[in-house]
């Protein structure tokens, strides 16, 4: 069995994130890393393998992104994935949901042809765009059951059951492998790469694919053919500094309630 875990390389959320002149996200001039929410997906892939000791299970980490995005795959290999795939092509830059999901789906199909794709694992959202749509779109494109936003995952044989927090309820979802599964940050802390893991990662197979390797051409993806177009981006003006009072002998509560009244909240 082979698990494909999709990992995205994103700008560091705690640093300055900005847009380029063509309104695409600056992914090259800023510090990037494996999206923290995709670490949970890698973790669940590794746990899936560990829980099913004795079975022959491999984990392939897949990313689509610029040159530096290979770091996301490397991190996944250090954590314990067995092999990596980096899809990189200038023509992909600026892809929207439709373009990105197309490239990912084609790449997953190629992995499947080479070594199988019985479980496609994703994070719940990227930490930059936070769309939370790509996993559902992969399920649509690959014709696999969609089992998304899992906080608890159980599997036996080819059956998988998950717990999903919905708007007004918690649901248990069941499906039969192969599936597309996305996991939330409630699914369990991700491990840190060990020193041994970091050394071992250097020897693990890592392939680089371009669009033509996937049977796609530049007219099918990227900014120029995107189905959506960004027309403007504006930095939000910093909030004007508010009034800060220090509570002394109960003065804070009085000032707080006066403020609420002045704004007509009471």
């Amino acid at each position: 069995m082979n698990i494909v875990v999709c990992v995205k390389y994103v700008p560091d959320a705690t640093a300055d994130r900005k847009f380029e002149d063509d309104y695409t996200v600056d992914r090259v001039g800023v510090d990037g890393l494996l999206s923290e929410l995709d670490e949970y997906a890698v973790e669940q892939a590794l746990q899936f393998r560990e829980k099913r000791e004795g079975e022959d299970i491999t984990v392939t980490a897949l990313t689509v992104g610029p040159e530096k995005a290979v770091d996301a795959v490397r991190k996944a290999l250090q954590m314990g994935a067995d092999s990596g795939v980096h899809v990189v092509d200038d023509a992909i830059a600026g892809s929207d949901y439709l373009g990105t999901s197309l490239v990912l789906a084609k790449a997953i199909e190629k992995v499947k042809a080479d070594s199988g794709a019985d479980l496609v694992l994703c994070g719940m959202a990227s930490t930059d765009a936070s769309g939370s749509v790509v996993p559902a779109m992969l399920a649509e494109r690959l014709g696999m059951p969609q089992v998304t936003l899992a906080s608890v995952i159980e599997s036996q044989g080819d059956q998988v059951r998950i717990k999903r927090d919905n708007e007004g309820s918690t649901e248990v979802i069941g499906a039969t492998l192969p599936i597309v599964l996305s996991v939330t940050d409630q699914s369990g802390e991700a491990r840190y790469p060990s020193f041994k893991g970091i050394m071992a990662a250097k020897k693990k197979p890592l392939e680089t694919w371009s669009l033509s390797d996937l049977g796609l051409d530049a007219e099918q993806v990227g900014l120029s053919v995107a189905y959506t177009q960004v027309e403007d981006t504006t930095a939000r003006p910093p909030r004007t500094a508010g009034e800060i009072v220090t509570d002394e002998d109960g003065s804070g509560a009085g000032a707080l309630v006066d403020f609420l009244a002045s704004k007509k909240f009471i």
Binding site: A13, R17, Y23, D96, Y97, L98, A125, T127, A129, S130, G131, S132, V133, A136, M137, A139, E140, M144, Q146, V147, T148, L149, S151, D165, N166, E167, G168, S169, T170, E171, V172, I173, G174, T176, I179, A226, Y227, T228, Q229, V230, E231, D232, T233, T234, A235, R236, R239, G242, E243, I244, T246, D247, G252, A253, L256, V257, L260, K263, F265, I266
Partner: protein, 317 residues
């Protein structure tokens, strides 16, 4: 005028406020047709509600073949409805589930998708609030039928009489869409407080509560507010995940957000930074949350909040 499909947000036939916001927005783009996934018996009652906000038609899609499976059947039904009506746009309330429905629908229709819009102009230009609220982005769908998911509190609902003609729509759900089965559903218990994403006022607590949410809840109740929590409070098991505000929880955009014992991490800000007015109570004057506030109290929430609660009650009489 072209139809604009608006997917109704409801809990067992009880129409929720974001629906009225979406209908108000839809009127800028064309003639709103509301889409109700639910029990046909509830169709007429739902139509009464949505016609007050301008719904000319109400498509009732019997969800007997839909509700037992995750996401895929709804996308199929909407595809069939879109093919029948050739709408000018399709609007959905921005929930996790609806975003997934919209994603699959975008592929089926070959249409562009914009998620988490906080505004839609009459020419279809959307506004999104991105990077934890630090940027706003103007964008437009350029291919196919615009599919747009819209966040709660993105417009003030405005009434307008619509015909509200009920039309049953028989969707065909393929076997391929029935592969992820909902085997059990446990409804969350109602707290009796307003819904987090819809509330005009949200009062949240973080690690600084030390696990005692009573001061936070008491203050929330005095203001008629919803209660929220930081991930630290959720991870500690003090509050259920459904209350989490932030990147991996709910995004709220209320008139007033009160953060108590919350430091203001970027992932928390992502869920509340677009609130109109922000207040914080925190004992650390250096807490980053104070960079955002309109008003802040440096103090212990365990003394400030109960005292403030009493004062609010006095004023309200």
């Amino acid at each position: 005028m072209s139809e604009v499909l608006v997917v109704i947000d409801h809990a067992d036939g009880e129409v929720k406020k974001p629906t009225f916001e979406l209908l108000t927005i839809a009127r800028r783009l064309g003639e709103p047709s509301a889409v109700f996934f639910g029990s046909p018996e509830q169709g007429d009652a739902v139509a009464e509600k949505v016609k007050k906000y301008g719904a000319a038609k109400v498509y009732v899609v019997d969800d007997a073949q839909i509700k037992g499976y995750l996401v895929a059947p709804k996308a199929e039904a909407l595809q069939q409805l879109a093919e029948k009506t050739s709408p000018a746009a399709i609007l959905l309330p921005s929930t996790f589930e609806n975003k997934e429905v919209a994603g699959r629908l975008a592929i089926k229709l070959g249409s562009g998708l914009i998620t988490d819009a906080v505004d839609v102009a009459d020419d279809g230009t959307t506004t999104q609030s991105v990077f934890a609220g630090n940027y706003t982005v103007q964008a437009k769908v350029t291919h196919g039928t615009p599919i747009i998911t819209v966040k709660p509190n993105s417009a003030a609902p405005e009434e307008a009489e619509g015909a509200g003609t009920v039309e049953a729509f028989a969707a065909t759900v393929s076997d391929a869409a029935k592969t992820a089965q909902i085997v059990a559903t446990q409804p969350r218990q109602s707290t009796g407080r307003p819904e987090l994403t819809e509330a005009a006022i949200v009062v949240s607590g973080g690690r600084g509560t030390g696990g005692n949410f009573e001061p936070v809840e008491g203050f929330a109740d005095s203001l008629g507010a919803a209660v929220g929590a930081s991930r630290a409070a959720v991870d500690s098991g003090w509050m259920p995940h459904a209350f989490q505000v932030g990147q991996t929880g709910k995004t709220v955009s209320p008139q007033l957000y009160v953060a108590n014992g919350i430091s203001g991490a970027i992932q928390h800000r992502a869920g509340m930074q677009t609130s109109k007015t922000i207040i914080a109570v925190n004992k650390d004057p250096e807490a980053p949350i104070f960079e955002l506030v309109d008003f802040g109290v440096v103090g212990d929430l365990h003394t400030v909040l109960p005292a403030a609660t009493e004062k609010v009650k006095e004023r309200k009489g």
